[in-house]
Amino acid sequence: MTRPAESSVSRRLLRLLLLPLALLLGIGVFFDYVSGSATIRAAYDRALHEMALAVAAHLRDADADGRIDADLPPQAVAVLRADSVDSIYFAVRAGDGHLVSGDADLQALAAGNGSEFGDGHLHGEAIRLVTHPTMIGSTPVTITIAETTRKRTTAIRSILASVVLTDIVQLAGTLLLVWLGVRYGVRPLRALGEQIEQRSARDLAPLDRAQVPVEVRPLVHTLNALFETVRDSARAQQQFLADAAHQLRTPLTGIIAQLDLLAREASGNGFAPRVLALHEGTRRLAHTANQLLALARSERSATTHDDFAPVDLEALATDAVAQYLDRSLHARIDLGAETEPARTLGSLWLLRELLGNLVDNALAYTPAGGRVTVRSGVAGAVAFLEVEDDGPGIPADQRAHVRERFRRLPGSPGNGCGLGLAIVDEIAHAHDANFVITDGNDGRGTRARIEFRVA
């Protein structure tokens, strides 16, 4: 099985146009040559015939016995034969065939009533000859004039050369015009292709139909309709998730708040441990519900670039530190920031979710007395967010797996649901960003880094 050749409109157009055009021009050259050389031949033949007539004018019927006088003085013969290029021969024969005057080795053609042209050879050279029958008095006489074909050949050659040259120039010009025309003609197509190619896969803004040729408008129309459908479904998904979040969180809020109260009321009596266990279980349920909602919201099918705007990563980093400060104090972890200005194009709330999960994760896995640092900045062509801890670290062979959903490292402390890094991964993807996990400084702990395009 051979792979089908890549289909290209311009190549196809060139193939369909160039071959027939070249053939057509070739045929044109052939016919120009044929008609040009026929004209030249006719002109030289006419001149030959006139010579025959001129010779005939010099013939006299000398007497009644049928003898013909060739009144051809040597000067006249010299004039007749005078030609710088071709050799000219002539022969005048009486009706019985005997030579009256001229070259004996020039044979006459079998002539009828009219003049007859023909080709022959004389002295090893091609000749053109004309045989002109006439009557001198009552005596039939045949005049034959021949000339070598050098002039004709030269003339025909020069005609051929000029015709072919003109036609070749014309052919080349035409081919060039066709090639340029095709290239120029398919330029809107190429531009459309490039426009589509340069878009991010998540950019669902409609393509501009005004600049697109009529022929591919249906295609663009269909693409735009498809974009619209995808956008609508993403919007519908977001709406559904927002509603689901409301329906899930409101009762959870009520239950957790009631358990808060109940735990206080029950403190000291026998129900306290059970109420606390309920409280903790519900809190975990709420956390999982939150994470599931966050994951669903950050999924590729639910995010578009419609709500992307410049995001201040430095502000995001300092906000995250401020937000998680209480938790870090509670866990006796030194949470700090090392930020430099950095910006990227993205969704603020998704990036907030992303960084929140990274910090949350770092705090969960770093023992008391440890250190967690949130960084932002620009390195070369990338803007980055980074969270580094000096906890136990993630073994190199586990770094790909921890991004999987519901995946937790064996023996992990805490009660996470294993969705944190999966959410980070999804959101990084949605931003065409790199999510890199490496060792922390001095090979200790974990450094999670998200590399964005600089905005």
């Binding site: 979040a245 409101t250 009520g254 957790i256 300092t318 969704s347």
Partner: protein, 222 residues
């Protein structure tokens, strides 16, 4: 002090009412924006806790109506949606704080207390944080009723932290607060003032260092 709770979910509303009640506040509860409008017109409140997802007119509409009507009652918005649009529009419409469900009750109580304190201090020029009492007009600080002598720069740092209690205040901002008096202050100056404040105020005003960012005066319950 009186708080209006606008929440349509009975379970949540009941817990909030009890939680705030236990913290010593008088709580009125209504379950719709319309009833909230009536209550706000009839009584005066120190705080409104408003859920966005109300039946009929939602919490944002209520907030907008309050602010257009010239009400200065601090508003704490509750929402089950965490889409940024909600947060932004709530703050744009004049909400003072924002809490995403599910929240822990102590969190709600702490935020409510901070909002009430902030609005009171703006009205009375007095700030009470646990054992610490600040007279913003006279620039005087007291711990347990005893006056603490502070330099002008120490006062400026403490005032800036106290007005942003519970929030991280960037070093740059503290520098700006004292730059009015002295043009050439090194970046280390703030550390010096904070350390002196810690000595002078003791445990009455715990000032946390937030590495790489600045400082935070922690809220004390009460």
């Amino acid at each position: 002090m009186r708080i209006l709770v606008v929440e349509d979910d009975a379970l949540v509303a009941d817990a909030i009412r009890r939680g705030l009640g236990e913290a010593g506040y008088a709580v009125d509860h209504v379950d719709s924006a319309e009833r909230a409008g009536t209550a706000l017109g009839a009584e005066s409140f120190d705080l409104a806790v408003v859920d966005i997802g109300l039946p009929g007119a939602d919490g944002l509409a209520l907030l907008q109506r309050m602010r257009r009507g010239g009400s200065a009652v601090p508003v704490l918005i509750l929402t089950a949606r965490d889409a940024l649009a909600d947060r932004v529009s709530a703050l744009d419409l004049g909400a003072d704080d924002y809490l995403v469900k599910p929240f822990a009750l102590p969190e709600l109580v702490a935020r409510s207390r901070a909002l009430i304190r902030r609005s009171r201090s703006a009205a009375s020029a007095e700030l009470v944080i646990g054992a610490l009492r600040l007279d913003l007009a006279a620039r005087r600080a007291e711990v347990d009723g005893t006056a603490v002598s502070l330099t002008r720069r120490e006062w400026a740092v403490l005032e800036c932290l106290a007005l942003n209690i519970g929030r991280v205040v960037a070093k740059d901002r503290l520098l700006q607060a004292i730059a009015n008096w002295d043009e050439d202050i090194g970046a280390n100056a703030i550390e010096v003032y904070v350390s002196r404040l810690r000595t002078k105020l003791g445990g009455a005003a715990p000032i946390r260092t937030v590495r790489g960012l600045g400082y935070r005066l922690d809220d004390a319950p009460g």
